[in-house]
Amino acid sequence: MRIYEYETKELFKEVGIVVPMSGLAQTPEHVREVAMKLNTPVILKPQTMLKARGKAGLIVSANYPEDAAQASKSIFGREYYGEIIDTILVEEMVDHRSELYLGVIVDYASGQPLVITSSAGGVEIEKTALEHPELLTKVSVSPSKGLSEDEATSLAKGIVGEIEQPASALVEDFKDTILSLYQLFTQYDCEMVEINPLGIKDDLSTVALDAALVVDHDALFRQPQLVRCRGLKEEDFQREKDYRDRGWTYLQMEGDIGILSSGAGITMAILDLMQAKGGRPANFLDTAQMDREGIYDAFRLFYHQRSIKTVLVNIFAGLNRCDDLAEGIRDFIKDHPLPFALVVRMVGNREEEGRSILKAIGITPISGLEEAVYQAIALTKEK
């Protein structure tokens, strides 16, 4: 789960990482007030979940409060990847002589935290990583021991040596920043936290100019203070939470065939098969564990979507039982006349029992995966 830049910077302050002076604003008038209070030239940074705002022209600077307020008028209310901009972080513009990169990430392949530093910080860091990998340093850390003082010092010396005369104050400052960032990484169950760029000021101190942090969503149960609705409407937030509690993965797409399936792999295989034959998925719901009530609730989700012409249900019952799920489908149809065509593919535990329950209500389950997918496509075309 992502959190906003300003929230990340609040966490930075907690662990002693220096950030620019700033204030949040919800209106141009707020922007003006914050800029006046800061009494410096400012940068306006819209708070959005997705970054690369600068490249989208959404980050602007202003020398005077009036200009800042004026500039903010064209930013508030704009849409960025589905999110309406309603909050701007108004930040003092910090003079700095160079920009570093500093990040900590969970490396899935090695199963260890990876600290990444570079003397070439800034928006082009990904390009740098590909074209000049020698400008990046990556160090694996023991998850149980954490990052040691020595490891941090040697990282700091390496990076400082590339850009400045080895100034001991800067090495010290950078080392502390690395250690603080690592502390944050473990304390808040981060999947990733990064400072890009980390500015070096003329007095050779560092300041975190931008910040990004992703919390491991599987650890949210022990990070209650971070669980808030971010960039989401309250109802969307509640829905996401409900799905997470149920073990549902739901994705909205643009077609007209609803897909209910269990297991991410098989669900993706269905998407592949369907799209190869010209079918268009409307959405998919992948449920780890489905039972009679669960499938009933899942059907409700498709029921309320008008764009859906056909629903394809794929059950390969290993943990669960076909008869239980067939009963759930029967329950739903008893309560709701179906507005869409229904194709059920069902194999596994108690398959025969499940098939006869469905046959009794006029649904003939299919046992082949491809056959089911192609039938769903054919029925959709007829409608």
């Binding site: 970054k51 990040g103 990583a129 998850p143 297991g263």
Partner: protein, 292 residues
Amino acid sequence: MSILAFKETNVLIQGITGRAARHHTQNMLAYGTSIVAGSRPGAGGEEVHGVPVYDSVAEACACHRIDASVLFIPATRVKDAALEALNAGIRLLVIVAEHVPLHDAMIIMEEKKKREAVIIGPNTPGLISPPEKTMLGFVPSRYFLPGPIGVASRSGTLTYELVSRLTASGLGQATCIGVGGDRIVGLRFEEALRLFEKDIRTKAVLLIGEIGGSMEEEAAEAIQEGLFQKPVFAYFAGYTAPEGTKVGHAGAIVQGSRGSMASKVKALKGAGVMLARQPADVVNIAKKALER
């Protein structure tokens, strides 16, 4: 022969008194798995389907020779349970739970490495060796048949889907491993290949992959380096999956160009792996692989 799970493998079930664990214990026993003990704090002295229950893993290990443990423990508590088993000297763990917190998974895997143990999962139905009549986890055993194919898969249901087709065509399996669907898993494809390489019964290996991560690419590198000589064939899902949006740069820096379907297909083809583009192609490709 098979790999990892054999007739003689003595198994412990951690969290054996839970509803799902009881059910799966019964299925494993029925298939032929040698379950010798269960553990659950406070339940010492009980029995589940005739299996004695102990308060701790250490107690169970004091009374039995235990080679493997299957953990039916919720993700939120799985770290302590896994460390308990590793500390008791158990060398093979199956972690069924999905959504294990990353920082817990990292601690578990570090300990695993230190103790040279093998971990299957997290987020796996487990593993099954049909020739050995041994299953660790909740794999629906009736879709499996003894035979020469090794399977390593990132997806449970996709494994059943593909393996049931192999079985229906009379193509049996030596061992099938669900390596797990979580972001950090204990046994990567490349390591599974190394194990299959050493097994005389395994004649070919099926890799069932997905978009994302870098396991498929690593496996391709290992094959190209000659670490694996047997024929490999593969099916991947996710050619048309919508791509996730990313945040921050660190992910891109670590991942580079890996993870995309194009990258996986290119890597595996380059290594001479036969790719089944659709589930229906798997049987024919399996036959070709076995002829090699």
